[in-house]
C-alpha cells in the first residue's frame, strides 16, 4: 500500500496516493465541479490533458491552475473558485 498523504479541497481534508492529480482530489472530496463558467454553469475536466482549461482551480494560492496536470503534494490547498 503506497504511502498516502493529505491535501485540502475547499477546506475538506482528502487522503490521496502519490500520482493523484488535483482534479481527482477535487472529485474525491465530493465536488463535481472545478469552476463556474462565465455564464454561471458548473464545469469539470473535459480533455484530461491540459488543453481545455475547464479544470482550472486555485492551487496553493495560484489561480487558473490546470488541476488535471497538477500532481498532489502533501498539504496542497485547492480551492474551486467561481472563475
Amino acid at each position: 500500500m503506497p504511502e498516502t498523504f493529505e491535501v485540502v479541497v475547499n477546506g475538506d481534508v482528502v487522503r490521496v496516493e502519490p500520482g493523484t492529480s488535483a482534479a481527482a482530489a477535487i472529485l474525491m472530496a465530493g465536488h463535481g465541479a472545478c469552476r463556474k463558467s462565465v455564464g454561471g454553469e458548473p464545469r469539470a475536466p473535459l480533455c484530461g490533458m491540459g488543453v481545455c482549461f475547464e479544470c482550472r482551480a486555485e492551487v496553493d494560492g495560484v489561480r487558473h491552475v490546470r488541476t488535471c496536470q497538477a500532481l498532489c503534494r502533501a498539504g496542497m490547498r485547492i480551492i474551486t473558485d467561481g472563475i
Binding site: A44, P45, F53
Partner: protein
Amino acid sequence: MGSERGRKIVVVGAGPAGIAAACAAAEAGCAVVLMDDNPTAGGQIWRGGGGREAAQWTARLEASGARCWYGACVVSAAGGTVVAERDGEPMRIEYHELILATGARELFLPFPGWTLPGITGLGGLQALARGGVPVRGKRVVLCGSGPLLLAVAAHLREHGARVEAMAEQADFGRLVRFAARLVRWPGKLAQGLGLQWALRSVPFLTGAWPVAAEGRGELESVLLRTVQGTRRIACDWLGCAFGLIPNAELAAFLGCRIEAGVVAVDEWQRTSVAHVFCAGEPTGIGGLERSLTEGQIAGWAAAGQETKARALFGRRADLHRFSAELAEAFELRQELKELASADTIVCRCEDVRRRELAGYGGWRGAKLQTRCGMGPCQGRICGPACSFLFGWDTLSGRVRPPVFPASMGTVAAAGERQRREARV
C-alpha cells in the same frame, strides 16, 4: 554527413514520438533536451505507465543521456531558442535543431448538454482515471469515433468501470471494410480482435452518436441516436470525442507550412522552416507505431545519421497507408454538423452559443465580435469544432505568443535575451 556530436537538439513533447526522437539523437552523440508539459514522460497513450513497450522505451531514454524537463510548457520559440515556463518561472533553452513531437488532442463536437460535469473525452477519461479519478463501479458510456473508443473501453473495464455501451458514429459497413483491410497489419488486427473479445459483453453500436446529455448540474444520462432509434442510458461518466487532431500550434507559430491542419514535412521529417523537424501525430494522425517510427527518423536526421533514418522509410510508408485507412474508416459524417442546436455552447471558455456564431464568414470576424476563441484555451477546443461546423480556417491566424498561456513574468523574460544582445 557524419554524426554531429554535441549538436544541441531540443525535442518538444515526451510522448512516443518525442521519446523515440530523443533516444535516437542522444544515442548518436547529440546533446538532447526533451521537454514536456506533463509531470512525466509518456504523452497521452503511455500516460501513467503504458506496458512493456513503454517501459522499454523509457529505460532506453534514461540510458540515452538526454536531459528531460517535465512540467515545462513552451511559450515561444525562434531563432535557436525555446522559451518555456516551468513552475511559474521562465526557462530558455538553445538549439541547433528543434524536433516538434507535440502529439494530438481530441476533437470535441458540441451537442446539447455537453458542458455538464461528467462529460469528458475518450482519452480524456482514461487520462483522468489514470490520475486517480475514481471509475470503479461507475456507469460509463463511451461514444464518438476512432480506435480510442475500444481501447479506452477495455482499459476502463479492467479498472472496474461498468461500461454500459459504446457508440461509434461510423457505419457498420465501413468498420467491416476497415477490419478486412487490417489483414495487412496483422499485429493491429490481432490487437483489435483482442479488444473486441474483451468487450464482447458490452453493446457496441455503430452508426450511433449522442444527441443530448441530460442532468441537473451534472451528468445523469445520455440520449444516443442509434440505427434502431434513440436510446437513453443512465450513466455517471460520458467519454465522447470524435477522433484526434494534430497539436500544430507551435509549428504554426514557427511559420511551418501547415496543410489541412497537418504539418508538412519532407522525407527527413523536416518542416518548411530550417532546423525545425516534426514527427508523429502533428504530421498526420496515425497512432503509436507511426509516432515511434517518425520520431526515430527525425532524431537520426537531426543528428546527421541519414543511413539509419533511411532504413525506416519503408516502415513509415506502410504506416502512412494505415493512417489513410484510419482516416477513411472513421471519417466524420455530415449529420454531426447538426448536433449542436442554436443554444448549444460552442466556446466553453467564453460561453458563446452556436446562434451567436451564425452569419460570420470566418474565424477572425466571429472571434472579434463574439469572443469565441479568446479564452485561455486559445481556441484549441472551439477552433476545430468551428472548422468542422462552419468550414472556417482556425489555425493559420494564430501565430502570436504565448503559444500557451504563461505568466506575465515569463512573457517578459522571452524578450530579454534579444534585448541584451541588441545592447552589445
